[in-house]
């Protein structure tokens, strides 16, 4: 008897530890193409990086009409399409992954096998709203959302005024359950759950006045934006951030940069930037002040061996923070080259997950945007982040005279749990001194 040849499902891989879903960017093969194992098959955007995903098996790619569209949010493990064995009739596989038989809610556990209750495979693909193109008004979005929710949870959500369309269900098949609604309900309203109408009789509170029935459109968060929000929230909730600012003299730095520019002429390489020079100097300062390079962990204070400087890069999609590794071993030219490469990759959305991991200290630069001083937010689990302000020519009193000097403000935010104010100030002092003798 010929066993039917099973198609291989193409699923969404996990690109990072915490990845639950990603954005499907597009197929790199066409429907019906013969795909070899190892060939890039589709492009997927994870939390911070976009990657081409290779086929793990060979076969004929069978896309379905209702498969994911570019821009769709797809859950890790979701089936995107099928790979058929060469020569297999695709008539048998006309059914799309989404229309695969689902476990009917009223299906009894298979009575013919009571010792092994039947568990049909759970269809994991749950395409959320098509988020691209013209955005319908919020009310329409709600009406068309294909979010699954139990009747009980739906009733509860309506009674409590919880917008359940945004909730993530914890049911086995992703169904929103009552507990998910209760967990999402604002604390204040949970007490009046049974009597939702009472609020109508009360004078409008200050908060209700802030949430009128506004018309507008809802722009869903991209995975990048969600990842940024989560990390920054973590940072402000767990760390005890304190920011010190110091005005320092950058005249010597400016001179150095002029020399470097001159030296770079004709080499084909751009000169190192202000930021590159400060990465180099900050690394030297960190070698003297290891606590600023340390990390708070539950089991104790962790002091990494290398100094890996993360550099904040502003991209169209949002902030990305690729990491320069073991900077203490790098020359200024190497720093400049690596930094340039990472920034280009970030802007092109081609960073690999590994490019974003392992930072021990972060430098962020708003000087180019005309900002003098600011309060950078720590990139957990790191201890500190250095913000570079605008370099400006200023009148400075030296002795009895006034001279023109290049000045800038350094903004250092550090985790006060790890390091106290005075040592952090001394780090800035060291950095300032290094800038003078650079």
């Amino acid at each position: 008897m010929n066993e039917p040849i099973m198609p291989t499902p193409i699923t969404v891989p996990r690109l990072g530890w915490t990845m639950e879903e990603g954005t499907f960017i597009g197929w790199l093969k066409n429907n019906g193409d013969l795909v070899q194992a190892g060939e890039p098959l589709f492009t997927l955007e994870g939390e911070k990086a976009t990657q081409d995903i290779e086929a793990t098996e060979g076969g004929i790619l069978q896309l379905s009409d209702d498969g994911p569209k570019p821009g769709d949010t797809v859950k890790v493990g979701a089936v995107l399409a099928l790979l058929l064995e060469e020569g297999a009739s695709d008539a048998r596989h006309k059914r799309t992954p989404q229309s695969a038989p689902q476990e009917s809610p009223s299906t009894s556990i298979d009575p013919t096998h009571p010792e092994a209750p039947a568990r049909p495979p759970v269809p994991v693909l749950e395409l959320e709203l098509a988020l691209d193109a013209p955005q319908p008004p919020v009310a329409t979005v709600i009406a068309t959302a294909s979010v699954r929710i139990s009747p009980r949870a739906a009733r509860r959500a309506i009674a409590m005024g919880v917008p359940w369309q945004d909730l993530r269900g914890t049911g086995r098949t992703g169904r929103i359950r009552e507990r998910d609604v209760l967990a999402a309900a604002p604390k204040a309203t949970s007490g009046v759950a049974a009597t939702p109408n009472t609020s109508r009789n009360k004078p409008a509170s200050a908060t209700s006045g802030l949430q009128p029935q506004l018309s507008g459109r809802l722009i869903p968060f991209s995975p990048t934006r969600r990842a940024i929000a989560r990390r920054l929230s973590e940072a402000t909730h767990s760390a005890v951030p304190v920011t010190l600012t110091a005005q320092v003299d950058a005249t010597q730095l400016a001179r150095l940069r002029v020399q470097l520019k001159a030296a770079a002429l004709g080499t084909g390489h751009p000169a190192p930037t202000f930021q590159d020079i400060l990465v180099k100097l900050a690394t030297q300062a960190l070698r003297e002040h290891r606590l600023l390079n340390a990390q708070w962990r539950e089991e104790g204070l962790f002091i990494p061996d290398p100094i890996n400087i993360a550099i904040a890069v502003d991209t169209e999609e949002g902030l990305l923070v690729p990491v320069l590794r073991d900077v203490a071993q790098m020359t200024l030219e190497q720093i400049a080259a690596s930094s340039r490469r990472l920034i280009e990759l970030a802007r092109a959305r081609r960073l690999q997950p590994g490019d974003l991991e392992g930072g021990t200290f972060t430098i962020t630069n708003l000087g180019g945007l005309g900002i003098d001083a600011f309060t950078p937010v720590i990139n957990p689990p790191q201890c500190a982040i250095l913000g570079l302000g605008r370099v400006q020519r200023q009148a400075v009193v030296t002795g009895d005279g006034i001279v023109a000097r290049e000045r800038m403000i350094l903004s250092l935010t550090f985790d006060h749990r790890i390091v106290d104010g005075a040592p952090a100030a001394r780090f800035l002092g060291t950095l300032s001194r290094l800038m003078d003798i650079a």
Binding site: S106, T107, S108, T112, P114, E115, P151, A153, R172, R177
Partner: protein, 325 residues
């Protein structure tokens, strides 16, 4: 309270009612001097003699028709079938005559018959001695269907049956006949259509019948240790069925599993599921689930026989799965 087996508890009910009401008499195979295959009439022959404990030949349709006529004349026959499988041989008399005569006579004729027999799988009794037919009888108007799981309930329900003017199918699971439980002394009545809440719980409602009540109780104990709080309901009678208790419980827990040794298709589990899906839909936080015996003639082979009945382990897992939905 004293502990009696279900066998002793129902014998006490029958004995008490026979002493109280001379219109009651018992018909069946081996229920006279022998005292019944399952001791259902043990010792009664010595008290009441052959007039009230009438042994019959193996002719179910004959003696059920006889009982129907006797009931029409004002007596209260108890037909003891030994195994409920053979009630089927008298199905025409029961469904066409006994169930309909009160309606046909505009209530002028009463039909106070108790039809009792053993149901359930166990002891390698094979497929002619293992059936559970309560759902079948519950489908017909005019019949009351009692499926006790506890000795105390069995006494109270049989007493109610013996005082009831409607025909009652009293179906006793053979594997619980020997189980002991507290049984009230003296007059004890349990109303039809009142479920028993065996365990109070908040996470999931389990409705179970007969032997499955005992297996579900064991599952409750296991799950309680893991912090899963099960509300266990024994309907005790499926016609009439206590809708309120089931719906109230599902309103509390949002989850329902029906555990029934009998076949799933068109069974009491389907009936309860339909009830809750209809009236209790908005209370549901998960799909309704049923757990039934395998849809197959009961095998004789002991390991196969064990495999077709929901076990405590399977019930426990089914409850866990439902809580994860």
């Amino acid at each position: 309270m004293r502990q009696l087996t279900m066998m002793k508890a129902t014998l006490e009910a029958l004995s008490g009612e026979m002493a109280r009401n001379p219109a009651i008499f018992v018909l069946g195979e081996g229920i006279g001097k022998r005292g019944g295959n399952f001791n259902t009439t043990s010792g009664l022959f010595d008290f009441h003699g052959p007039q009230r404990l009438r042994d019959t030949p193996i002719s179910e349709r004959g003696f059920v028709g006889l009982a129907c006529g006797a009931a029409m004349t004002g007596t209260r026959p108890v037909v003891d079938f030994m195994f409920a499988d053979f009630v089927l041989d008298a199905a025409g008399e029961i469904i066409n005559q006994i169930a309909k005569i009160q309606y046909m006579s505009s209530g002028r004729i009463k039909m106070p018959i108790v039809l009792r027999g053993c149901i359930g799988i166990g002891h390698a009794a094979a497929t002619h001695h293992s059936g559970s037919y309560y759902s079948l009888y519950a489908q017909f108007p005019g019949l009351r269907v009692v499926v006790p799981s506890m000795p105390g309930d069995a006494k109270g329900l049989l007493t109610t049956a013996l005082r009831c003017d409607d025909p009652v199918l009293f179906l006793e699971h053979r594997e619980v006949l020997g189980l002991k439980g507290p049984v009230p002394e003296g007059d004890h009545l349990v109303e039809f259509g009142k479920a028993s809440v065996m365990r109070q719980g908040s996470d999931v409602t389990v409705v179970a019948l007969a032997l499955m009540v005992h297996k579900a109780l064991a599952a409750c104990d296991i799950l309680e240790r893991d912090g899963i709080s099960v509300e266990l309901i024994d309907p005790r009678t499926i016609a009439p069925l206590d809708h309120d208790t089931i719906l109230r419980s599902v309103a509390k827990t949002g989850r329902l599993l029906i555990v029934d040794e009998a076949f799933a298709p068109c069974g009491i589990g389907a009936e309860i599921a339909a009830l809750v899906a209809d009236v209790g839909f908005d209370e549901l936080d998960a799909p309704i689930r049923r757990l039934n015996g395998a849809h197959t003639p009961t095998p004789y082979s002991p390991p196969l026989e064990t495999a077709v009945v929901p076990s405590t382990e399977i019930i426990t897992q089914a409850i866990r799965d439902l809580c994860d939905e």
